[in-house]
């Protein structure tokens, strides 16, 4: 509970992440918050908070000054964490509201019925600044307080969306046009990632256990899997196409299973190969760092090899194994975007469509849910890992 109070006694050190957040935040206020565009492909004119609304500028400035003061002044650790959480949340949520409300007002004044408000540099800098502060907060508190804050922020933005406050924002416009497809692409994205990570768990965890138990297989397994990791992802996707196309030509039953040179199959296989290393490595390492005295105790009490593995080694290693799966999952959610290039579904479709049409709004519309999925999955794992760490539940 009191782990941070020692930090207040310690000599002053620059808190780099928070300092970075302050700089980004300041840039966010000065740069254009959003641009007003007459139509989809219009370059638009930028508008910063300073020129749009003085009261909101003051509010944002306070949210940046508070962390700046935190860096300079020694305060109680609890108060400090609370201030980080508060200012961080405002810096994330407020730009959405401003783009929604101030943007719409601007459109009305200019009488641009088909105009749209596109978030610009200032918007993204403020978001980044807020995200840094929130993650600094999560790092400083125990348990799932951090997860709770992230959930609250997401809910807040979602509520504004449901209340119709964000309708004039450019990527929301793009979303409205594709509402039907959006959900199915999210599901496709998740399905591809889940199948890849799921099979990587089914292969990687046993491979890690076998490498731990039998020295001979360790070298070959690790060199193959880390070799795979060095192939650039785009190349790996490409490499999958030729052999799979050949196989499905050769064996028609594979085609009936949906295995072709392009589409889901090569994407899932490539993503699977990518997820393998973090899962394998964490499983192996977590088992090999178990205190030998604990294993000796287990054996000495008469555990069989099987009991030793399932009642002792795996449970003790579980938190580290799970964090390997966490890394693989977050990474795969990102990589799945690229899968759209070889004809698999997913949110990457929107991104590459946007690239093709030179429409930044559409790209952003594809990227935002990817980031949100990655954050949510990361927090879910953080929650479960916290639960399986021995003693985590009854530490005072």
């Amino acid at each position: 509970m009191d782990t941070d109070s020692g930090a207040t006694v310690e000599s002053w050190r620059l808190d780099k992440p928070v300092a970075l957040a302050v700089i980004f935040g300041a840039a966010g206020i000065l740069l254009p918050l959003f641009t007003i565009r007459e139509h989809r492909l219009d370059g638009g004119t930028g508008l910063s908070v300073l020129s749009a609304s003085v009261p909101y500028s003051v509010l944002l400035a306070v949210c940046i000054l508070v962390p700046a003061v935190i860096i300079l002044v020694r305060t109680n650790a609890k108060i400090r964490a609370g201030l980080l959480a508060g200012t961080g949340s405002v810096l994330i949520v407020l730009p959405w509201l401003l783009a929604g409300i101030l943007g719409s007002r601007e459109l009305l004044e200019l009488e641009l019925d088909l105009g749209r408000v596109a978030p610009a540099g200032g918007f993204w800098f403020l978001t980044l600044s807020g995200m840094i502060l929130v993650s600094e907060f999560s790092r400083r508190v125990q348990g799932w307080t951090g997860t709770l804050l992230v959930a609250a922020i997401l809910l807040c933005v979602f509520a504004m969306f449901r209340l119709g406050l964000l309708e004039d924002i450019a990527f929301i416009r793009e979303y409205r046009v594709r509402e039907q497809r959006f959900l199915s692409e999210v599901i496709a994205h998740l399905r591809i990632a889940a199948m890849a990570v799921g099979s990587a768990v089914l292969v990687g965890v046993p491979a890690g256990i076998v490498s731990y138990r039998y020295r001979v297989v360790r070298k070959p397994v690790f060199s193959v899997v880390s070799g795979l990791q060095t192939i650039p992802s785009l190349a790996l996707f490409g490499l999958m196409i030729a052999p799979l196309a050949f196989l499905s030509q050769r064996y028609p039953f594979l085609r009936q299973l949906g295995i072709r040179g392009v589409g889901n199959a090569p994407a899932i296989i490539a993503l699977f190969l990518y997820s393998l290393l973090p899962i394998l490595r964490n499983t192996y390492t977590s088992l090999s760092v178990i205190d030998p005295a604990v294993i000796e105790a287990g054996k000495g009490m008469g555990m069989t090899q099987k009991q030793l593995l399932f009642m002792l080694e795996i449970p003790v290693a579980l938190p580290i194994i799970l964090s390997g799966i966490r890394v693989a999952s977050v990474q795969t959610i990102g990589n799945t975007t690229v899968a759209a290039l070889i004809g698999a579904g997913g949110l990457g479709n929107f991104v590459f469509q946007g690239l093709g049409q030179a429409s930044p709004d559409l790209i952003v519309m594809g990227v935002i849910p990817i980031v949100v999925l990655a954050i949510v999955i990361d927090r879910v794992f953080a929650f479960f890992i916290g639960r399986v760490i021995p003693g985590a539940r009854n530490v005072e």
């Binding site: 205190d291 005295a293 604990v294 000796e296 105790a297 287990g298 054996k299 000495g300 009490m301 008469g302 555990m303 069989t304 009991q307 002792l312 449970p315 003790v316 579980l318 021995p390 003693g391 009854n394 530490v395």
Partner: protein
Amino acid sequence: MIEFDRVVKYYGTHRALDGVSFTVPDGCVTVLIGPSGCGKSTSLKLVNRLLEPDDGYVRVNGRPVKSFAVEELRRGIGYVIQSAGLLPHMTVQDNIGLVPRLLGRDKAWRRARARDLLDLIGLDPHAYARKYPSQLSGGEAQRVGVARALAADPPILLMDEPFGAVDPLNRETLQNEFISLQRKLKKTVIFVTHDLDEAVRVADRIVLLQDGLVIQEAAPEELLGRPSNAFARDFVGTDRALKRLGRFSVSDYMSHDTRRVGTKDHASVPVDATLREALSRILAIPSDEISVIDAQNRTLGSISLEAIRRAGCGGESS
């Protein structure tokens, strides 16, 4: 009974045990003692087959340990390891209940047993049953290690420096608890230590090892009174006569003649004290004699410096 019969054990080319033979009688505490690296832990692990000998035999009740199914053998032998070795993902009560669980005992039985054992080793079950090993001090963890070894009520107990991580004061308390526990339980115990005072306190027999060889196998009084060679003499130290007095009880050497003691004399010694304590008290008073009292402060008789000296000399080779 456990027998070591010309046991040889190599680690690579290093000979850790070089033809070790000794016997461990039933119901007694046999202490293995010797300097660090002399092969004490190695000997223990040969009993529950965490190691296999390169030559010779280890027998339990006349049967070579090799002829037992290894898991069955281990579940019948309580094992307290040098660094406690509690399983970090289990609570104290689940750690204690582990061997019973392997033997198929149900949860309620294991919980009740864990609580009884926590009581027995002097830890409050309410406060400790649900703690995790990372929340215990070194001494508490070692006590839990002892409780875990006792959980399935095995006839044999192997204890590798069970009180190693405890401060001297608590260590003495634990040793006394162990002694009274052993009086009740009558286990066949092999107890490893490199602390001679601890050995003298808990042992029925002592096996002194050096570089994988048995130097002397004897009762503590004998080891202290007649160390068999220069190494043994060095090992037991120059105060061996004093240590030896620690093995004798005042009640065996006192005189029951109550008239001989001056009633005005305040100095006294409890009847269940050792001769070592009696000597220490006598040296602090001007007299050669001190009265012996019972728990109710009644004078039972007296003990004299002369009687202590005679007890100390008994069997001494000079």
